[in-house]
């Protein structure tokens, strides 16, 4: 469903309507998207709703005309520029605009999505029903992900495993005189090998050891909280 949406030929979306009601106009051009940090200085972020602190307000919510209790005049500062990109059409990336040499350039799609998410993280936007976002990362095929993210990491890990393996084989051989092939037949050596592989896979940074310990605690913490009331019973 999402792929069919992506192939809709780009019709000029009325991007201007987003800022039609804004009092100030920011120059809207694609280059802004590439440098989100610079724009942060210009856009007004939503700030604390202090008592009476008037912020540059766009569409103010109705203040208490009906005298219904004490409704607060809602100041929602929202002068930030919305995310716009010529390749972002109808709430998804238009794959037709990502063609390179006849095939879709998936790396560029991934880059574009990364920029969009980074932008939205720094400038959260209102979700609008007229312009729904329907992009699904699964339209990028699995091999594109593997080529871009998995392979470099795998290369690094295999390199580590190879170095550790070579050194350990040499070390064990020098200590015991057992060659590589015979080492594989020994149960203890097999265990060491398993530990080495698991270590390389699980512990990639120094912080990972702490992370793993915390994870193990986390998985059982909730159970402990539920069991707490039964500790009393056993004491009796």
């Amino acid at each position: 469903m999402t792929s069919s949406m992506a192939f809709i030929s780009s019709t000029p979306t009325n991007l201007q309507s987003f800022s039609s009601s804004s009092k100030t106009h920011f120059p809207i051009n694609p280059f802004i998207i590439l440098k989100p940090q610079r724009l942060n200085l210009v856009s007004v972020k939503a700030t604390e709703n202090g008592s009476g602190a008037a912020i540059a307000v766009e569409e103010k919510k109705d203040s208490d005309e009906g005298g219904n209790g004490a409704p607060v005049a809602d100041d929602v500062a929202e002068l930030g520029v919305k995310f716009e990109d010529p390749k972002w059409v109808s709430g998804t990336w238009d794959l037709n605009q990502f063609q390179k040499g006849g095939a879709t350039d998936w790396d560029a799609v991934i880059d574009a999505e990364v920029k969009r998410r980074k932008w939205l993280e720094d400038n959260p936007e209102s979700s609008n029903n007229d312009f729904p976002v329907v992009f699904d990362t699964s339209i990028v095929p699995w091999w594109a992900w593997i080529k871009r993210f998995h392979l470099p990491e795998v290369e690094r890990l295999n390199g580590r495993a190879a170095m550790v393996g070579f050194f350990m084989a040499y070390f064990v051989d020098s200590l015991t005189g057992i060659g590589l092939v015979d080492q594989m037949g020994n149960f203890f050596c097999k265990t060491l090998l398993f530990v080495a592989v698991a270590g390389v896979l699980l512990i990639r940074k120094n912080e990972d050891i702490e992370t793993l310990k915390k994870l193990i605690d986390e998985t059982t913490f909730y159970d402990k909280q539920w069991q707490a009331t039964w500790q009393d019973e056993k004491k009796e």
Binding site: E121, S126, Q225, T229
Partner: protein, 466 residues
């Protein structure tokens, strides 16, 4: 397909055996001593507790919300002398107000206390990917939105009709019994209806106490039940123009993202004639107003022109208290901490736990003729833990996996687009059972989940490089 529909339909119609209390002994009519005393789940060897002569078992329920009301009704129907103490009879509790379908059937709720039937939900990711869920719901399935003051009142009135005494008062403290079977003495201030009066001090002797007084339970304090971590839920009720209200006719929204909440979600729930926009957090409570602003920003286009008519906040327990039971005092509902993770649902579990505790008391006391002791009340705990532990654990896992970070939330929303996920989610939510489901589909789901998480995290790593 038809058989599945039939199964769930009969599940709705068929009232569970717990609803029918066959024995309705009169208060002053002790049953013959030869009556056997069946206990379904034996935790300890059943101690023989003394028979009570001349009166029935007396139980006080502190707190008249869903938990208290349900417990009072079950106790009263079981022939037990019940008093229900509630401090504010017209309390409009700050609450999401969502009840699952099974609650309507299990508690025989009349359909007119349900303001709205939500049949669609929209999940919105941090990057505003919006997914509609609810396609798999059958025509008779819905999430009921109720006004707490209406629901609580209805349950209390029903309890009163069954024979419980509803007292408008504030529980102050409780004296522990001096003897093994001596009564508890509860002290409360009874309000006489005059505005601003402190009420007159009353004491009452009861044999057992059910603490149903919510997240800041005084009963829990008096039995040293311990503390729990809690989330702060902050909510603004906003009256929006009719055309915008049309969109929320039977739709609720859930917004996820670091801007909205670091460990929970922001929501827009439709109420009777307005919407409730809110968010919650456990770890960043001082920033709750910032999160609320962010939630309003995300929903801005849909609530434009709205007027805030009420602002409210309340604590939500994150896990059960270390002690839910002490001697003949038991905690139920929010006081015990029975709110699920991930969704923060508490109304159904409050009512159900109140009922279960009351049932354990009725059974342990043989309809009010014998004293109860801690072992009888522990039966309620055991039954509760056994029945609902899978539900709680699964929701805990979901929260840990999917509310961790923005990539996890993006993956979460992506997964919600899958029909199998929607079906499983709604089945487990509406009927409160964790069904195993199709193993092949489960495997596909696991693979897809891992795929989504991996993709989202990969994108996140790239984002960090910019």
């Amino acid at each position: 397909m038809a058989s599945v529909a039939l199964k769930s339909f009969t599940g709705l119609r068929q009232s569970s055996p717990e609803n029918h209390h066959s024995s309705k002994s009169l208060f002053s009519n002790p049953l013959p001593s030869t009556q056997l005393h069946y206990r379904r789940l034996n935790v300890l060897a059943g101690k023989s507790s003394p028979k009570i002569t001349g009166r029935n078992l007396r139980v006080a329920i502190i707190g008249g919300g869903p938990a208290g009301g349900a417990a009072a009704e079950t106790l009263a129907k079981g022939g037990i002398e019940t008093i229900l103490i509630e401090r504010k009879l017209d309390n409009a509790k700050p609450c999401g107000g969502a009840i699952p379908l099974c609650m309507v059937g299990e508690f025989d709720l009349p359909l007119d206390i349900i303001d709205r039937r939500v049949t669609k939900m929209k999940m919105i990711s941090p990057s505003n990917v919006a997914v509609d869920i609810g396609r798999t719901l059958k025509p008779h399935e819905y999430i009921g939105m109720v006004r707490r003051e209406v629901l609580d009142c209805y349950l209390r009135d029903r309890a009163a009709a069954a024979g419980a005494t509803v007292i408008n008062g504030l529980f102050v403290k409780m004296d522990k019994p001096t003897d093994k079977y001596a009564p508890y003495v509860i002290h409360y201030n009874e309000y006489d209806g005059k505005v601003g009066s402190v009420g007159k001090k009353v004491t009452a002797e009861v044999d057992a106490v059910i603490g149903a007084d919510g997240a800041n339970s005084r009963v829990a304090k008096s039995i040293d039940a311990g503390d729990y971590e809690y989330a702060i839920a902050f909510q603004e009720r906003i009256k929006i123009p009719d055309d915008k209200m049309q969109y929320y006719e039977n739709l609720a929204e859930m917004y996820v993202g670091d801007d909205v909440s670091p460990d929970f979600y922001g929501w827009v729930f439709p109420k009777c004639d307005h919407v409730a926009v809110g968010t919650g957090t456990v770890t960043h409570k001082p920033d709750i107003k910032k999160f609320q602003l962010a939630t309003r920003l995300r929903a801005r286009d849909k609530i434009l022109g709205g007027k805030i008519i009420r602002v409210e906040a309340h604590p939500i327990p994150e896990h059960p208290r270390p002690r839910r039971l002490a001697d003949r005092v038991a905690l139920v509902g929010d006081a015990a901490g029975y709110v699920t993770k991930c969704s923060g649902e508490g109304i159904y579990f409050a009512a159900k736990s109140g009922r279960m505790c009351a049932e354990a008391i009725v059974e342990g006391s043989a309809n009010g003729t014998r004293m109860v002791d801690e072992a009888d009340l522990r039966n309620y705990l055991e039954k509760w833990d056994k029945t609902y532990w899978p539900t709680y654990k699964v929701l805990d896992i979901l929260q840990k996996v999917f509310y961790r970070s923005n990539p996890a939330r993006e993956a979460f929303v992506e997964m919600c687009a899958d029909e199998y996920v929607q079906k499983m989610t709604f089945d487990s939510y509406l009927y409160k059972r964790v069904v195993p489901g199709n193993p092949l589909e489960d495997l596909k789901l696991a693979v897809n989940t891992i795929g989504s998480l991996v993709r989202a995290n990969a994108l996140r790593k790239e984002m960090a490089k910019i």
